[in-house]
Amino acid sequence: MNDQAETGGQRVRFYQTGTHTVGNRLMDAATRTVQSSIDRSNAITSGHRACQGCGEALGARYALDAAMRAAGGRMVAVNATGCLEVFTTPYPETSWQIAWLHSVFGNAPAVATGVAAAMRATGRTDVRVVAQGGDGGTTDIGFGCLSGMFERNDDVLYICYDNEAYMNTGVQRSSATPAFARTATTPAVGPHPGNVFGTGKNLPRIAMAHEIPYVATASVADLHDLEAKVTRAMAIGGARYIHIMVPCPLGWGSASQDTIKLARLAVESGLFPLFEAEHGDVTAVKTIRHQVPVEAYLRPQKRFAHLFREGHEDHQTLAAIQAMADANIRRYGLLGEGKA
């Protein structure tokens, strides 16, 4: 009937919203998400200073609560500098309800390696280590430490919350900023407005090139998938990497209530493919449920407003972005078996 997981004892395998919603009263408790449980750890509690509708605050709680459940609560989280760190810990308050550690902007992978080594040295091998940072902290300044952590296969799960720019300091371009996006350092002026096409790096693929045990991409728009990936990663030893797309209303110029919608459209357009890779090879992809043109994703964001100026729509650029989505669809087989 559908793509639902078969659940014990229930004959009719159709559940109205299936696993698309956070919970589902019609499904067995075991198949609902960690987030649907009143017992979730709420790694980041209320009162934090993230903007209204912040995808990073949401993505971090999603990932860390799942990791906490997988680790049975025995876990240390290391944080690079960035919004996540700043909005959770304005002196002297903290939103963290888990063991948490911040050092500086560029060294989170190295600090996490150290924490893992300390745990080993003190015989606390039951304690798992998670490191996390924004896209700037991960793809730029922390990149050297991260590559080393991968190369040594240190026992750390590194999670990148990708909001596609240096948001905490006022929306500067990072090497994860998408082509044509307007940022404070790539203004929408001149003959080629926005971020330069053909620049930037694809960190999940770079991580795969290190042939570490596990690499995955995830989205705040697909909670079941995100939690499954975190849970999977927590069950594996060695270096693991998860790259989560987290829309930023401030930096993207989007409405606060559109955060999940935009994350969903990024996936459904093919611009942000969801996949898993083991030891360098893609092992699973999440297929697109209802394909949309890239325009549906781009139009609600002010950082792409220069593509949609009344009467001067930049069809050429839109076509270039659509071609990027189409290339992803082909590369990962996002429309499913045998469809391009």
């Binding site: 009937m1 919970g23 019609l26 209320s46 934090h48 209204q52 605050a57 308050e93």
Partner: protein, 544 residues
């Protein structure tokens, strides 16, 4: 620690960010609402369809049935004969196909009959007596609701059995009598007195007997006639009388070829019955086209499937024994049929007139204050009361669409007003919630699920027997179908709001208790409202 020995910048003790009430950032606040689902809004019997589907989704069929029974005492009948305008309104139709509401209703109705379920009744006796005239759907519904409210009800019925047009109009192949009997018996078992073969002819005498109020629902049974020039008329019957004779086993032989004149549901039913009674050819002659016919499309289709031939745009001009001269018609700009002067002939042994029915209001003519229109329908006010205080009326005899469902709805509505009137009060209908529009749903969350199909009886048996044509759903299919409901505008506890709040400002209250917003921390981002699949959260501006 002594402040003096604390190094710079850590002189404050750490605290939780919960000290920071981010609720002060808000310009809009999310509020949980219950909107009116379009199905409920449409149902002529005022059913809480979304409400009973919600229970059915979890497999609690008894709870679902009890909710259904608050509004409609005959779900098994209704799931078979109702024209389900709810499904035309259903939001799911805009997604793929409407929920098969009638099929789930029928499943619940049959389930209750099989399990012998009884409606939950708790009212204390009021000491008031109400007379109901006519045991059709409207009268039965009024009797049921009045009994639930604690009044003593007597139904007087002119005919030999209860059911009205459900028994003497709607053929068995659409409504098996065991189903009808079971649902009528359940109403009578609640303590309703039924007096059969008792035609009421004097309203004032009935009041004088001591009834505190009267509800009249005598239907519309007088067949309309027309004059057709006939040199030597063959056999001419009227549809309602024939259907009644079929029911009592007294139907006359119809001959090989039958013409039915009319384009309503009665025409379809009588033509289909004629096939089953052995007519080799059953034709319908109707003066307009398919688009204008009063019958529903599916009724015409089912008739045609069984071999009924429909001659659209034809009027009968002349009859000469078995020769029928018919004139071709054209539909003009106003949608009216106009003669063309072109003629054809048809051959038939019997003509059956199915041209509609009028109300027999002879029992009301002497009642002061009662308004009777030229076409026989009786005027009622917003309370369903006629011009005679205490005399209420509903169903086919008042101006409204003539269906079982409307009749049942009138019975409920009249019962509420009679109850209020008996207590010397006015019935205050609860405020209508705003409509749950399709645009308010986030349909991405719903699984793709095609509508389930009801199996049909093999064609040979459809043409030769009165066995039920359309089959019911199995339990599995009914459960599946119930779960296709989008729960428009009413929380179904999917936990989305609880999950998607970046500020943990949604409090989950546990199964059946839904959620609450923690306004100390809600920043008003609107994610919960945007991601609620069914549109049960609304953002409202903060004032001040």
């Amino acid at each position: 620690m002594n402040d003096a020995v604390k190094p710079f910048a850590i002189t404050l003790d750490p605290g939780s960010s919960k000290l920071n009430h981010t609720g002060s950032w808000r310009t809009e606040r999310p509020v949980y609402v219950d909107k009116l689902p379009p199905c409920n809004n449409q149902c002529p019997a005022g059913e809480n369809i979304q409400g009973w589907l919600f229970e059915a989704e979890s497999g609690d069929y008894e709870a679902a049935w009890q909710i259904l029974m608050r509004d409609n005492p005959m779900p098994a009948v209704m799931g078979r004969v109702c024209y389900h305008s709810c499904e035309t309104a259903c939001n799911r139709a805009k997604l793929d196909e409407a929920v098969s509401i009638h099929a789930v209703e029928r499943f619940l109705g049959d389930y209750a009959i099989e399990k012998g379920l009884r409606p939950a009744v708790s009212a204390d006796p009021s000491g008031k007596r109400v007379l109901v005239i006519g045991a059709g759907p409207s009268g039965l519904s009024a009797a049921y609701h009045l009994t639930r409210m604690g009044h003593a009800v007597t139904i007087r019925e002119a005919g030999p059995m209860a059911g009205g047009m459900m028994r003497f109009g709607i053929p068995k192949y659409r409504l098996p009598r065991a189903v009808l009997d079971a649902e009528i018996a359940r109403i009578l078992d609640m303590g309703v007195t039924l007096e059969l073969n008792t035609k009421v002819t004097d309203i004032e005498a009935a009041f004088a007997e001591g009834f505190d109020a009267i509800f009249a629902a005598v239907g519309a049974h007088l067949a309309k006639r027309i004059d057709i020039p006939a040199h030597a008329a063959g056999r001419i019957l009227d549809a309602v009388s024939l259907l009644e004779q079929v029911e009592t086993g007294a139907a006359p032989a119809l001959g090989r070829r039958v013409i039915v004149y009319g384009g309503g549901n009665t025409a379809m039913d009588v033509a289909r019955s004629a096939r089953r009674l052995g007519a080799e050819e059953a034709m319908i002659v109707y003066r307009r086209s398919r688009k204008e016919m009063p019958a529903h499309e599916f009724e015409a289709r089912e008739a045609e499937d069984e071999g009924v031939l429909i001659h659209w745009l034809r009027t009968i001009k002349e009859i000469d024994e078995t020769r029928f001269t018919v004139e071709k018609m054209l539909i003009d700009a106003e949608g009216r049929p106009q003669p063309t002067g072109e003629f054809e002939t048809l051959e038939a042994d019997t003509l059956i007139l199915a041209l509609g029915q009028d109300v027999d209001t002879s029992f009301l003519t002497r009642v002061a204050g009662v308004e009777i229109a030229k076409d026989g329908v009786v005027g009622v006010d917003a309370r369903m009361m006629t011009g005679r205080a205490g005399l209420f009326a509903g169903g086919d005899m008042v101006p409204a669409e003539r269906t079982v469902t409307v009749g049942i709805g009138h019975g409920k509505k009249a019962a509420r007003h009679i109850d209020a009137w008996l207590r010397g009060a006015a019935y205050g209908a609860s405020e209508r919630h705003p409509l749950a529009e399709f645009e308010g749903l986030n349909t991405w969350y719903y699984d793709d699920a095609p509508r389930s199909v009801q199996a049909e009886l093999a064609m040979v048996r459809r043409q030769t027997s009165f066995d039920e044509v359309v089959e019911g759903l199995t339990e599995d299919t009914a459960l599946y179908e119930a779960r296709r409901c989008l729960s428009c505008g009413n929380c179904f506890e999917c936990d989305n709001c609880f999950g998607v709040c970046p500020d943990n400002a949604v409090i989950k209250l546990g199964p059946g208790n839904r959620f609450r917003i923690d306004y100390d921390f809600c920043k008003g981002c609107g994610l919960c409202a945007a991601e609620c699949p069914c549109g049960a959260i609304q953002m409202v501006p903060e004032i001040g």
